[in-house]
């Protein structure tokens, strides 16, 4: 076989692409788990949340979250009858130890569990200067702590305040949607520990997931929809006063 100069030049880019693929190698995936078959999100049913703090404790246990930092937390809202836009919000220790009983009467009171919204168009991943945070092909926003330089841009960029700088690793840290669990067929630690089923892991690509029926029959919202983040943390019965 004889290759002239023109043919060789045409072949070179193809060879470069092939060599790149060889260098990259294939990462070990969990058996039977296909990245392209899932699109993860979560459903939070405000009307079921009792503010016990089980999710906050479970998350800290499962993910070694440092004391005083939260990958998920619970807020208690008090909305008075005459001022609907200025709710009183408290979250003592992120709701980890539960909430002291209310003495105030009147208005409405409810709990709002919060965590990373695993946005499809996430502002936090867009600002990372080194490619240390990213949305996986199955829709989970993760932080590569080996690659993070701790510049805190993403912490500022998150409109939901879901990120923090881990004081041990000095890298950005956040909810992983228990990626080590959901890729093994388990639910997240917070969903597992929630006694009332107020939190439900949802696979939006799985047609058998009960989330589809729920979304069709309930008034479900996301937080800050005007920011067009493509948030996948769906709230049922969300009050308009929640920020």
């Amino acid at each position: 076989m004889k290759i002239d100069r023109r043919q060789l030049l045409l072949l070179l880019p193809a060879a470069a692409v092939a060599w790149d693929a060889v260098l990259a190698g294939t990462p070990e995936a969990a058996p039977n788990y296909k990245l392209t078959e899932h699109w993860w999100g979560m459903l939070v049913d405000i009307s079921k949340c009792i503010g016990c703090g089980n999710c906050v404790r479970a998350c800290a246990t499962e993910n070694d979250v440092p004391e005083g930092y939260f990958r998920t937390w619970v807020e208690r809202y008090h909305v008075s009858d005459y001022d609907l836009v200025n709710p009183v919000v408290d979250s003592p220790d992120g709701g980890k130890q539960g909430f002291p009983p209310y003495t105030e009467t009147g208005g409405k009171n409810f709990f709002v569990p919060k965590m990373c919204n695993h946005c499809a168009e996430s502002p936090c991943t867009q600002v990372c200067p080194v490619g240390a945070t990213f949305t996986t092909p199955d829709g989970v926003v993760l932080v590569d702590k080996e690659y993070c330089i701790g510049c805190r841009y993403c912490i500022q960029a998150c409109p939901y305040g879901c990120r923090f700088l881990n004081p041990k690793t000095q890298t950005a840290d956040k909810c992983t949607l228990c990626y080590h669990r959901i890729t093994k067929g388990l639910t997240t630690a917070c969903c597992e520990a929630c006694p009332t089923g107020a939190r439900q892991l949802a696979d939006l690509k799985n047609p058998k997931d009960p989330i589809h029926a729920f979304l069709k029959t309930h008034t479900v919202q996301v937080l800050k929809p005007s920011m067009a983040t493509g948030a996948k943390l769906f709230y049922n019965d969300l009050d308009g006063s929640v920020r």
């Binding site: 208690r76 809202y77 539960g98 092909p137 009332t196």
Partner: protein, 158 residues
């Protein structure tokens, strides 16, 4: 006389450029991690590293493979949707070695009120008590309420 005057000047520039390119390509090969760019502008292996973390909560499916009796009792009562580890805590270590690691005995007096102590922000239809005024004379909850099936007289102790 050569066609271009002083063409060796050009040659030097070309050589310097070629050398620079070579250094860049070599440095890039060593500095960019292997799996970078496989799915996007990030290290694909970071996903596998995060996914490899061991689980701490075993999951109720794991508990139910052994504790069939408790599961049966639970399905009949009000606590049917409550997963085991909601009260018993993370038990993956116990599930891995049930003989050596035993879950600690729970104190129902502190555990039950986490959910059932009255709180204005709790949903109205959720069963709530004022522990101090509850008709229990300071007895632990399980004296009257079997935790796996809490209605009084509903469940025998498994």
């Amino acid at each position: 006389m050569s066609r271009f005057q002083d063409s060796e000047h050009l040659l030097r520039v070309v050589l310097a450029f070629a050398l620079g390119t070579l250094v860049f390509v070599l440095a890039r090969t060593f500095l960019v991690p292997q799996s970078f760019g496989e799915y996007g502008h990030y290290r694909a292996n970071a996903m596998t590293e995060i996914a490899a973390k061991p689980v701490v909560f075993a999951g109720h499916q794991t508990c139910e493979t052994c504790h069939v009796d408790v599961q049966e009792l639970k399905t009949k009562g009000k606590h049917a949707p409550v997963n085991c580890e909601a009260c018993h805590g993370a038990q993956a270590k116990h599930a891995d070695d049930p003989g050596a690691i035993q879950p600690p005995k729970l104190d129902t007096a502190t555990l039950c009120v986490r959910c059932h102590e009255v709180n204005g922000a709790r949903p109205q239809n959720f069963p709530q008590i004022v522990a101090k005024e509850h008709d229990s004379a300071g007895l632990p909850c399980e004296t009257c309420h079997q935790p796996h099936s809490p209605r009084i007289g509903a469940g025998a102790k498994p």
